[in-house]
C-alpha cells in the first residue's frame, strides 16, 4: 500500500500528515467506522504515536478509546507530560454496567443485538443492546455518559442478570455525585429505581452542600455534631439552623436566627424566632384560646374531578335556553289513580313522575330527531342517534351522576319505571357500570325534587340538549272559563346546542312534550 496522506485537525488547523504504510492500513480500517474523515484514529490501543507533520508540528495521535468518539490529534507542548500517561483510566473511571433485574423472575437473557461497539461514546439513556427473555424483548439503556470500553457478551450469548454487561468509562467520577445535581426523574434507567447512585464515601466525609459547609466554617461548627435529616443523612440548611438555635438556646443568649427562604418549616421557625424575647417593657397581648376556623383545601378527585372535567368540556358548547310552564294537574291525578291500581300495586313499582317525563320526551323525540343527535368536537359531523338513551341526573352522596335508560323508544312507561328503580338502587350503592353511565343521547334533570323553578342546565357533551324540571307548585291559574282555579304548575328549562338546534325546533319539541304531559291521554294516540 502506498503512502497516503491523512488529514487531521490540530486544534483549528488542518495539517497533512504522511504516515507509514503500516499505520495507514490500520487507519483506514478503523476510520471506516467513524462518520467523518476529519479525525485521525489510533493505531493500536494504549500506545501513543508521534507524528511529524510537514509543518513540523509535533503532535500526538491519541489512542482511539482514550481520546473520545473520534480521536483528536492534539498539539502538545514538548514538556506536557499528561499525554504520555497511557494508563487506561485516562478518560475516566471504568464502571461495569451490570445487567439489572428485568422482572418476572428472569435470571438469564439472550443478547440479541448490540447497538454500540467498543470505543463508542454513549450518553445516558442511549440504547446499548437488545436482550430477549422468552417473549419479552427488552432494550437496555445506558446509565452513564461515557465510552464503551468492553462488551462482555457476544450476540446470542446468554447473559446472567446481575453480571456486568458492558464496561463504560465514565467521564468524571461517579462516586461523589454533587448533591444539588441529583435529579429523580421518572425515566430512571432500567433497574436502578430503588437505589440511587451509590455513594461510597470514606467514613470521615459528611454529606452536605457547599453553602452549609461555608456556614459551618464561618460559625465554627463541627459538621459531625449536626444531625442531618436529608437523604442518606445529608445535612440540610434547616438542620444547620436548628443546630444553631439549639446551641444558642443552650447558651441561653437570645440569638436572632437567620431567616431561611422557601421552606414551610422555616416559616414556622421564623414565627417562633420572631416572638418577643421575655422582657417586661412591651405589654403582652393576651391571645384567647378560642379555636379559629382555618381554610381547608383538598384535591379534587373522583366524582368531583369528573364533573369538573366534563363541565369544562360542556361549556364550549354555545347554549341557548328555553323555558316553559306545564300544568301538571291531570298528570298528578293520573298518577294518583294509578298508584291505587291493582296492576301497579302487584308489580311493586313506585310510580313517580319521572317515567312519564322520560317516556313523553322519547315520544316527542320521534318527531324532532335533531334533539337526539350528537356532534363531534370539531362540529363537523352530526350523528342522529337511533336509540333514545335518556339520562336522568341523580344526586348521590358522592356527587352528581347521570345514568341513562337505554332505548326508551321501545320501552313502556312501566319498563322505564322498573329501569329507573334499578338504576337508582345501583346509584345509591355506588355500583353503576360503565354501560349505564355512557351512551346517553338526551338528558332530563329533575332538580325540582330538591327545589327550584327555572334553571339553566348545562348540556352534557356529546349530547345536544338537556332539560331541567322544576318543582311542582300549586298556583292559581285561570281556566278556560276565566275562573281562578288551583293548578299544579311545573316549570321546565331546556338548554340546547345552538350550533345545530334552532329555537323553533326546541320550542316545538317543548310544546309537544307539554301536550303529552298536560293531557296524558294524548300519549295513547302516539303509542307505538
Amino acid at each position: 500500500m502506498r503512502r497516503q496522506g491523512l488529514v487531521c485537525h490540530l486544534g483549528l488547523q488542518r495539517h497533512l500528515f504522511t504516515v507509514g504504510r503500516d499505520w495507514c492500513r490500520k487507519f483506514i480500517r478503523v476510520n471506516m467506522a467513524s462518520a467523518t474523515r476529519r479525525i485521525v484514529c489510533s493505531f493500536r490501543q494504549h500506545k501513543l504515536f508521534y507524528l511529524k507533520s510537514r509543518l513540523q508540528y509535533n503532535a500526538v495521535a491519541l489512542p482511539f478509546n482514550l481520546a473520545g468518539p473520534y480521536g483528536y490529534v492534539e498539539q502538545i507542548h514538548p514538556l506536557a507530560t499528561r499525554f504520555f500517561h497511557a494508563s487506561k483510566t485516562f478518560y475516566g473511571e471504568k464502571v461495569p454496567f451490570k445487567l439489572s433485574d428485568i422482572g418476572e423472575g428472569i435470571t438469564e437473557v439472550t443478547v440479541k443485538e448490540w447497538y454500540v461497539k467498543e470505543g463508542d461514546k454513549v450518553a445516558q439513556f442511549d440504547p446499548i443492546c437488545e436482550v430477549q427473555s422468552d417473549k419479552a424483548s427488552v432494550t437496555i439503556t445506558s446509565r452513564y455518559d461515557g465510552l464503551i470500553s468492553k462488551l462482555h457478551y457476544a450476540v446470542d450469548e446468554m447473559a446472567k442478570v446481575g453480571t456486568p454487561l458492558v464496561d463504560i468509562e465514565v467521564s468524571g467520577s461517579v462516586s461523589e455525585a454533587p448533591v444539588e445535581e441529583l435529579q429523580e426523574k421518572d425515566a430512571i434507567p432500567l433497574g436502578e429505581r430503588e437505589e440511587s447512585l451509590e455513594l461510597e464515601l470514606p467514613a470521615e466525609k459528611v454529606l452536605t452542600t457547599p453553602s452549609v459547609r461555608k456556614m459551618a466554617s464561618d460559625l465554627k461548627i463541627n459538621l459531625r455534631n449536626v444531625q442531618g435529616t436529608g437523604r442518606d443523612g445529608r445535612i440540610l440548611k434547616e438542620d444547620m439552623l436548628r443546630h444553631i438555635e439549639s446551641l444558642s438556646s443552650s447558651k441561653s443568649t437570645p440569638k436572632p436566627s437567620q431567616v431561611p427562604q422557601q421552606q414551610a418549616k422555616a416559616v414556622e421557625r421564623e414565627t417562633t424566632s420572631q416572638q418577643p424575647s421575655p422582657s417586661t417593657k412591651t405589654p403582652q397581648i393576651i391571645r384567647p384560646s378560642v379555636p379559629v376556623g382555618v381554610d381547608r383545601s383538598e384535591p379534587i378527585k373522583g366524582f368531583k374531578k369528573a364533573m369538573a372535567k366534563s363541565m369544562t368540556a360542556s361549556l364550549r358548547i354555545p347554549h341557548f335556553g328555553y323555558c316553559d310552564e306545564i300544568d301538571m294537574t291531570s298528570m298528578a291525578a293520573l298518577r294518583h289513580s294509578l298508584k291505587e291500581n291493582p296492576m301497579v300495586k302487584e308489580r311493586g313499582i313506585k310510580l313517580s313522575f319521572m317515567p312519564f317525563f322520560i317516556k313523553a320526551a322519547s315520544m316527542a323525540l320521534h318527531h324532532f330527531p335533531v334533539l337526539n343527535s350528537s356532534v363531534d368536537e370539531a362540529c363537523e359531523n352530526i350523528t342522529y342517534k337511533a336509540s333514545h338513551n335518556i339520562g336522568f341526573a341523580m344526586d348521590t352522596s358522592l356527587g352528581l351522576i347521570v345514568p341513562n335508560v337505554k332505548n326508551v323508544q321501545s320501552l313502556s312507561v312501566m319498563d322505564v319505571a322498573i329501569e329507573l328503580a334499578r338504576l337508582q338502587e345501583l346509584g345509591n350503592k355506588g355500583s353503576l357500570g360503565a354501560t349505564d353511565l355512557t351512551g346517553g343521547t338526551f338528558t332530563l334533570s329533575n332538580i325540582g325534587s330538591i327545589g327550584g323553578t327555572y334553571a339553566k342546565p348545562v348540556i352534557m357533551s356529546p349530547e345536544v340538549a338537556i332539560g331541567a324540571i322544576g318543582r311542582v307548585q300549586v298556583l292559581p291559574r285561570f281556566n278556560s272559563k276565566g275562573e281562578v282555579v288551583r293548578a299544579s304548575i311545573m316549570q321546565v328549562s331546556w338548554s340546547a346546542d345552538h350550533r345545530v338546534i334552532d329555537g323553533a325546533s326546541m320550542a316545538r319539541f317543548s310544546n309537544l312534550w307539554k301536550v303529552y304531559l298536560e293531557n296524558p291521554s294524548t300519549m295513547i294516540l302516539d303509542l307505538k
Binding site: G103, F125, D134, A434
Partner: protein, 377 residues
Amino acid sequence: MNIFRNSYLLLRYHQVKITRLGNMNSYYPVSIIATRSIADDVSKKLVFISKSTNIFENLALEDWFYKNFDFENQSLLFMWVNTPCVVIGRHQNPWLEVNLKNLSQNSVLLSRRNSGGGTVYHDQGNLNCSFFTSRDRYNRKYNLETICGSIRSHWNLDLTISPREDILLNSYKVSGTASKLGHRNAYHHCTLLVDVDPSLLHQMLNVHELGIQSNSTPSVRSPTLNLKACCPEISVDEVIHILGCYYIKNSPLCFKGFDFVTPSEENFPGLNLIKQSFSTWQWIYGKTPSFSLCCPIGDQSSEIKIQVLNGKIERLHFQDITIGKQDALRLNTLLVNQKLDSELHGVISNSSVFGTMGEDRFSKLNEILLTLCLTSV
C-alpha cells in the same frame, strides 16, 4: 317491537363514537387526550381501536405509541385487526418459520414486529390487543387476566393461562403473547383467535425442513383453536367491545367511548417513516440473525455451507471439496454478497452457471437457493 329489539342488540355493540384525534402538531398529544379521559387515582385508561387493517400501518402505530406517548399517568389498550398476514418476532428467521412459497401464492403479507416471541398468522378473525403502560406498571399476567375475565364474564368460555403465558381453551392455544420493554414505556401485545381460517394458518406456518441452523428465536408450535368453535355467537367486534368495556370498568364516569384511530401522517406525525421502515426488505428479511445451511452436492458427502448474514449470502464454504476451483469461483461471484430476494431468484433461474457446472450435481443447491429467494416485499 321486535325490530327495535334486534336493533337494540346491534346498536348495543356498536355504540362507539367516531372521533378524530384532531390535528396534532406535537409528538406528545397528552394534553389533548387528557381532556377526554377522566383520571382516577391510579391511571387513565384509554382504549383505541385502529380503523386500518394494514399490518404495516398498525405495527407502525404501535411503535409510534411506544416511542411517543407518555404513559406516566395513563395506560392504553390498542386493538387492531389485519387482513391476512404473517408476523414474525424481532429475532426470528422467516425462512425457518414461514412457508414463503405459500405466502406469495396466497398474497399474504409478511412482516416483522419489534417485540420478541414467535410467529403468528393474522386475518380478519384474529384480534390483536396491545396493552401499553409505563415500565414500572408492566404486568403481563394482569393483562391476560383482563382478557380472560372479560370473555369469561360474557360468554361461557373457560379460558386459562398457561405457564408460558398463553391463553388456553380446553388445552388448545387461542392466544400468543409477546412484549417489549424500554426504559420508560413498555407494551405487551397478544393475539386472540376468534375466527381464523385454520387451513390457511397451517399452510403459512408449515415449513419444509431446509436444514437451517440458526440462533434465532424458535417458535414453539402448539395446536390452536378458534373461540368460535366453542361459542358460535362470538365475533371480533363483540370481543372488542366487551374487552374495551372491561378494561376501563374501573375508571369512573363520563368516559366518552372508545376512540377509533386512523393511522395517518396528519394524526401521528412521523408515522409514515416508521411504516416505511417496517415494510422494507431490510427490516423484514435483513434483520434475520445470521444462519447457515448445508446443501449436499451430488451423491457424495461433499457439501456447500451457505452462510447468511443480514439476509445476504455472506460466504460459501466448500466442505469436502470435490468442486473445481473454477466452479467455486463462479458460484462465489454469482452468490456472495447478494441479497436473498426476487432479484437473485431471477438471476439464478436465468443463469447458465448451474448448467455449465453439471446440473444434476448442483440441482439440490439450485433448488434450495430458489426456495430461499422466494422473499417478497
